[in-house]
C-alpha cells in the first residue's frame, strides 16, 4: 500500500496545458505530489534523463520511475493508486472506457491542427482555422449527445474524467491563443439568449472552468495571453 507524502514529483511548466492535465488529475484524485517548474528554454538534466525520447514535460516521477505523455500519465494515476477511488477518471464499464479513450485520443490527435492555427499566417492560417472549426464541430456533435441530450455536466458524467481533462485546455488556453492570434474559433457568448456555433461545448467549458479544482488551478489568463503573443511572434519571425 502506498503512503501519503511518498515520492511523487510532477515536472511541469506553467504555460503548458499538458502539464495542467496531470496536475488536475493528481488533485482530483487527492494524490500528494511535489511540483517542479521546468524552464523550457533551459531544460534540466533531470528532465532529459527522465524523458530522453521527447525531452518534454509533463513527466510524473513516482518513486524515481518516470512516466511521460500526459494521457498515459492519467491512465497511470488511475491504476497506480487503486485505494484513491473517490474520483475515478475512467468509467467502470469496458465499452464506456473505450468511448472515453476514443475521444481522449481524438482530442490528442488534433493537437497539430491547433498548433498550425496558432503559428501560421495568411492562407495557411485560414486553412488551419477552417480545420480547427471542423474539429470543434465534431466535439460539439458529441457534446450535443452527452451534455445536451443526456444532460451530463461533463463527458464523464457528474464528475470530471479523462476526456474532460484532455479537452480542458480549450476552455482556457485556446481562448488565450485566440487573443494572441486575433482569430476567434470558439465564439463563446456571454449572453445566454444568444447561442454561438458550439452551444453544448460552451456549456461544458463553463462547467469545467467552474469546477473548484480546475478553477483554483489555472494559470493567470493575462500572463498566458502575453506568453502566447510572444511565442507566436517568435514562430512567425523564424518561419521565413
Amino acid at each position: 500500500m502506498e503512503e501519503e507524502g511518498e515520492d511523487v514529483k510532477l515536472l511541469g511548466a506553467w504555460p503548458s496545458p499538458f502539464s495542467y492535465r496531470v496536475l488536475w488529475g493528481l488533485k482530483l484524485k487527492g494524490i500528494s505530489f511535489q511540483y517542479e517548474e521546468e524552464d523550457l528554454a533551459r531544460k534540466s538534466s533531470a528532465l532529459l534523463r527522465y524523458n530522453p525520447v521527447h525531452r518534454k514535460i509533463p513527466v510524473l516521477v513516482h518513486g524515481e520511475k518516470p512516466i511521460a505523455e500526459s494521457t498515459v500519465i492519467l491512465e497511470y494515476i488511475e491504476e497506480a493508486w487503486p485505494q484513491k477511488n473517490d474520483h475515478p477518471l475512467l468509467p467502470q464499464d469496458p465499452l464506456e472506457r473505450a468511448e472515453a479513450r476514443f475521444w481522449t485520443k481524438f482530442v490528442e490527435d488534433k493537437n497539430p491542427t491547433f498548433f498550425r492555427y496558432f503559428r501560421s499566417t495568411g492562407v495557411d492560417q485560414e486553412q488551419a482555422t477552417e480545420e480547427a472549426k471542423q474539429v470543434l464541430k465534431a466535439i460539439e456533435d458529441y457534446a450535443e449527445l452527452q451534455i445536451g441530450k443526456e444532460g451530463k455536466k461533463f463527458f464523464r458524467g457528474g464528475t470530471i474524467g479523462i476526456t474532460d481533462l484532455t479537452l480542458g485546455w480549450i476552455s482556457w488556453w485556446l481562448k488565450a491563443m485566440e487573443e494572441a492570434v486575433g482569430v476567434k474559433l470558439l465564439m463563446e457568448t456571454t449572453d445566454e439568449a444568444e447561442e454561438g456555433p458550439f452551444p453544448n461545448l460552451s456549456r461544458w467549458m463553463k462547467n469545467f472552468r467552474e469546477d473548484p479544482v480546475i478553477r483554483d488551478n489555472l494559470p493567470d489568463f493575462d500572463d498566458l495571453v502575453l506568453y502566447f503573443k510572444r511565442l507566436r511572434h517568435n514562430f512567425i519571425a523564424t518561419s521565413d
Binding site: V53, V72, E75, Y76, R97, A98, R101, K105
Partner: protein, 221 residues
C-alpha cells in the same frame, strides 16, 4: 455469448492489429471486408467520426480506433494479456503505443508524397526508427513484451510487413543493410510467431495494390 464482428480491409495494418489480437486471445469473430473506395452504410453508421476501418462491433455496439479496440479486448477477454499487469509497465507500454501512433504516419507520408515532402517524411521516419532502436528495443528481450508479443509489438506490426512494401514501391530505403540490428531482429521474430505469420496479407498482392494506389494519389495531388 454476444457476437463479435470486425469490419476491416485487407491492405490495412490497423485492421490486422485487431485480427492479431483476436487470434491471440482465441476470440471467435465474423470478419467483414470493407471496400474502402465504396464504404458500407454500416461502417459509416458505426464510425461516423472517421469513417474508417477497423471497427469492432460487440453485441451490436461499435468500438473504433485499433489501439482503443485492443484495450477493450484486453478488458473483456483477459486471457493472453496484451498489456502487462503492473501499472508502471502498463504506462511504459502505452507510451510506446502512443509513440507509434504519433510517428507511424511518417512512413505512410513517404508513400503518399514525392520530392521535398517525401524527403521530410523520410527524415521523420528515420528518426522514429532510430528512437525505437536506441530507446525502445535497447535492453529488451525478443519482443517489446519480453518473451512473448504484447500490445506494443502488435502496434508496430506495420513496420514488420508494410514498411518493406513501401520501401520497394517508392525506392526509399529506411532500413539500410548494416543499420538497425535490433529492429531487424525484432521484425524477423515478430513475423515468425505463428498467429502473426498465418495472418498477414500476401506481399505480391500488397505491392500491386499499393503501387496502383500511389499512382492515383500522386496524380490527384
Amino acid at each position: 455469448m454476444e457476437t463479435v464482428k470486425l469490419y476491416g480491409a485487407w491492405p490495412s495494418p490497423f485492421s490486422y492489429r485487431v485480427i492479431w489480437a483476436l487470434k491471440l486471445k482465441g476470440i471467435p469473430f465474423e470478419y467483414i471486408e470493407e471496400d474502402l473506395s465504396s464504404k458500407s452504410p454500416q461502417l459509416l453508421q458505426y464510425n461516423p467520426v472517421y469513417e474508417k476501418v477497423p471497427v469492432l462491433v460487440h453485441g451490436g455496439r461499435p468500438i473504433c480506433e485499433s489501439m482503443v479496440i485492443l484495450e477493450y479486448l484486453d478488458e473483456k477477454w483477459p486471457q493472453q494479456p496484451l498489456l502487462p499487469s503492473d501499472p508502471y509497465k502498463r504506462a511504459e507500454a502505452r507510451f510506446w503505443v502512443k509513440f507509434g501512433e504519433d510517428r507511424g504516419p511518417s512512413v505512410w507520408m513517404i508513400y503518399r508524397t514525392e520530392g521535398e515532402k517525401q524527403e521530410k517524411a523520410r527524415r521523420d521516419a528515420l528518426e522514429m526508427l532510430t528512437i525505437l532502436e536506441e530507446h525502445g528495443l535497447n535492453g529488451k528481450k525478443k519482443f517489446f513484451g519480453g518473451d512473448n508479443i504484447n500490445i506494443v509489438d502488435i502496434a508496430f506490426g506495420g513496420i514488420a510487413h508494410w514498411m518493406g512494401v513501401i520501401e520497394e514501391i517508392t525506392g526509399v530505403k529506411l532500413i539500410e543493410d548494416n543499420k538497425f540490428p535490433l529492429l531487424k531482429a525484432w521484425m524477423h521474430n515478430f513475423k515468425e510467431v505463428s498467429f502473426i505469420n498465418e495472418n498477414l496479407p500476401n506481399r505480391e498482392k500488397m505491392v500491386a495494390f499499393f503501387r496502383a494506389r500511389r499512382s492515383m494519389i500522386l496524380s490527384s495531388a
